[in-house]
């Protein structure tokens, strides 16, 4: 499969907080963490390089203070990076004028915030149509567009409510609807579900996946929750101390963590949730008689019951339906109990 074109890329992006950040970077383009501290600065983002492809969910995961929020704000230029390039469809955002930035943000970007950032004095409908209002879209037109997205996020009937009359989950739905009202190409979500209760969070993640299956946006999603990252991401970038230490698919992360820090996260993740049938199958055509077929792209978790219950192995097929290998009950059980896990 041909990889999709790159939508947003950041190259050698640095963000140092404090006086004299420019001077330090001018003198030494690649300062060590200790040098940054010695200069009295805080290295929030250090030499970040990531590429986000069209239509993918790219999750930036890191603990608090790892610089993930700063990085996403650099990507949207809410924070001015100290050095580097942010390429959006090949155009360097850092060179864009204020007017150009306003135009880009009005039409091509949307953002969802951790604490919703709804305007308290506006109703749901007014909140959702606010981005269009700012652009000067006539009232009838913007309200029609707003009603569409409100329905899309399942809040039909609540248009006249005010934010404080809604639950946290509903408020974030409004936040999501609002960010989608301008039909953005690039969708930033900054820890959108972190402020919600665990049960609601799960529901919202499902909702998010459903929306993406319809919309196919290019998404940058920030979270501190590794499980959330695994669940949602096409690819994950892991950050620590301002550095992006690994960019990989969830499966690759679990199978080959770049270092102990990443391994520490992956250790507690049930492998069955991450690994696909393809990664543990016996390659080559099945030797024995098979009980059925499973897809190579399926997660072990989803097929374990079926494969384990049968005495005979299952044939593994790829996207085109060709048999590429086989998988037996023992292999599945090994993954489920975490024994002899492939590294």
């Amino acid at each position: 499969m041909q990889p999709k074109p790159v939508k947003l890329a950041c190259r050698n992006v640095w963000k140092l907080f404090g006086e004299g950040a420019d001077r330090l970077l001018a003198a030494r383009p690649h300062p060590e963490l200790s040098e940054i501290h010695a200069a009295g600065l805080i290295g929030a983002v250090r030499d970040a390089n990531i590429e986000i492809r069209e239509g993918e969910i790219f999750v930036i995961m890191g603990l608090s203070g790892s610089g993930k929020s700063t990085l996403v704000r650099c990507l949207s230029r809410l924070i001015e990076p100290t050095a580097g390039e942010i390429l959006f469809d090949g155009q360097d955002l850092l060179r864009a004028s204020e007017q150009e930035m306003i135009e880009l943000r009005r039409h091509k970007m949307g953002m969802v915030f951790q604490h919703f950032a709804l305007l308290p004095h506006l109703s749901v409908l007014q909140n959702v149509s606010f981005p269009l209002d700012v652009q000067g879209v006539p009232r009838a037109e913007r309200e029609a567009a707003a009603r569409d997205v409100i329905e899309l996020v399942g809040l039909k009937g609540r248009e006249s409510y005010f934010p404080r009359e809604l639950s946290g989950g509903q408020q974030q739905r409004v936040g999501i609807a609002r960010s989608l009202a301008v039909k953005p190409e690039l969708w930033f979500l900054d820890e959108p579900f972190s402020a919600l209760d665990p049960l609601i969070r799960r529901e919202m993640q499902d909702e998010f996946l459903r929306l993406q299956s319809v919309l196919h946006k290019t998404i940058v999603f920030i979270t501190h929750d590794f499980e959330e990252a695994i669940r949602l991401a096409d690819r994950i970038g892991i950050m620590k101390d301002g550095e992006v230490i690994q960019v990989a698919s969830p499966e690759e992360l679990v199978l080959s963590p770049a270092n102990d820090y990443v391994a520490e996260f992956t250790k507690h993740i049930p492998r069955a949730k991450v690994l696909t049938v393809g990664s543990i199958m016996q390659p080559g055509p099945p030797t024995d008689e098979v009980a059925g077929e499973v897809s190579a792209a399926a997660r072990i978790e989803d097929v374990a019951d079926r494969v384990e219950a049968s005495d005979q192995p299952h044939a593994v097929i790829d996207e085109d339906g060709a048999v590429v290998g086989s998988i037996g009950g023992q292999a599945v059980v090994d993954v489920l109990v975490g024994r002899g896990a492939p590294r």
């Binding site: 135009e103 951790q114 004095h121 700012v134």
Partner: protein, 667 residues
Amino acid sequence: MSRLDQLGLSRNAMLWLLLFVVTFVLAQVSKDLAKEMDARWLMKVPRDLRIPMRGDISDFMSWLVESASFGLFTFTELTRSISWLIEQPYDFVRALVIEGFVRGQGNEAVQVLPSLSWLAVAFVVAAMGHYAGSWRLAIFVGLCFLYLAVFGQWDSAMITLSSILIAVPFGVGGGLLLGIAGYRWPWFDRLMTPVLDLMQTVPIFAYLVPILFLFGFGPVSALIATVIYAMPPMVRVTTLALHNVPSEIREFGKMVGCTRRQMTWRVLVPSALPSLMVGVNQVIMLSLNMVIIASMIGAGGLGYDVLTSLRRLDIGAGLEAGVAIVVLAIALDRLSQAFANRPPPEHSERQLNAMQRHPWLVTCLAVILGTGLVGLLLPAVQQYPAGAEITTGAFWENLVRWINVNFFDQLEASKTFMLVNFMVPVKRFLLGLPWPWVLVLITFAGWQLGGFRLALLCCALTLFILVNGLWAKAMVTVYLCGVSVIIACIIGIPIGVLAAENDRANRIVQAFIDTLQTLPSFVYLIPVVMLFRVGDFSAMIAIILYALAPAVRYAAHGIRSIDPQLIEAGIVSGCTRRQLLMRIKLPLALPEIMLGINQTIMLALSMLVITALVGTRDLGQEVYIALTKADTGRGIVAGVSVACIAIIADRLIAAAAQRKKRRLGLA
């Protein structure tokens, strides 16, 4: 380590004790000593040291008015056009609520439209009460306005009200714009903060002098003074409220591509609205305070009634107008607070037409129109019939006379007792101090508490008073302020502690304090003068009443905000209630209590100047004299001197509180 600390602490205490003893001895002997040594300069600031600042300022002001020009127009033309600009809306509002719209001049004048009838005004106010709060509030403010009509204060109250109706939008609008500018440009904020500090410490009267000089006597200059006086808190509240808007909201605005203007007016200001309303409430209350005081430069209205009756010693009329001010103040305060605390809107399912959406607006218009039409036939509807007015003047007159007849001895005895045993000794003590020693002492205190910069500031401000030849008057100011603050603290802090300990006491005290704080400072003078006549003692009582609130409030807040775990730790260790209070609560609340004392001093100083009306001999009197003579330089120099005292006290106490806090690990 701990022994060293103890030693250091006691050494510090010893030092202060020693300084106090030296000061005390100096106060007793230095007068004779100076005579002995033939060094009168020790007691009296020599003439050679003085700088004739007030003359320079007066000359500058005269130059401004007489010959300053900006090329295209002169300075006088500028002030005249400002006056004109303010006069237009003022005349309109005044015609609306009290005088009616007329065409033509003087005797030729023909009334075109009558003013709003008293019923309509009272109804509109009550409707606002219901809109912002509840039926209870509507009835309350309605009754307040009814009171004004029934007790014959309507006309004066409406003049006062129309001044406020003009001053508040100017104050709020100007404060909002300056606050936004301060938020947007940090350098502007840095520039503005010291100016605001000064504006809030310079006594009110001092504003009046230059304004009187520039704009003349009349309601317009009173309005300008009011706006200048009421604006600073709005500026501060605006900047603070905008800074407190969650950063995500600001980022949201940026992400949807708001221009700067959209960001300010459609995202930030609406989000900060609840906090901004607190500022609006402050502007209203300060405007009322100032409109009353500005009657000295021609504001008219209730303040003028009080002023004239004070001058005539007409007890009844003064108290009547005073009570009317209180009623108006409470009504305005409750109303604007209700607007500030109005719950955010709720959705409604039905589609409403204009009348359903604005039921009160429609009703108000109907009432205004209805009473206007009926009023043409029935004058009693248009104007409350004079025959039905009730005057309480005689009642107050008799009450005060009765008190003065029956309790004269007791009142007089308490007054004499306080004067002889407390006030006069303090005064003598302060006036007996040689000025170089005071200068050294203040500078030293600044150095000890806040380091080199504070020392320099204290020294410079003290020198300002010295070189302007106001030393003796400044000392009288310190004395009067000092005794009032001491008594206010002796009364206020225990009340605050009580309020913090007991919920029922708290409710009563809170209601009482809230009311005290809404009253214009002028009002406090009235009963005091009635009972104790003019003099330092009356001034002191008025100052205590006015400045009591922060002492109570901060003490209560300080004790309530102690970490409950610390109190639980005390209970678990077996403290009695008394030990709990003395050993845990009071020491921990001390920094907060100190800030309360600081605020008390500030309020005392601002009241002090107003008490010049009851015959004190301090800097306040100096400002007051300058006002009557329209001597700008004299007024400004004396006013700034009061501000100097205020700033010294403020910075020293704040530094001490900060130190204490740091030592307790609370900061």
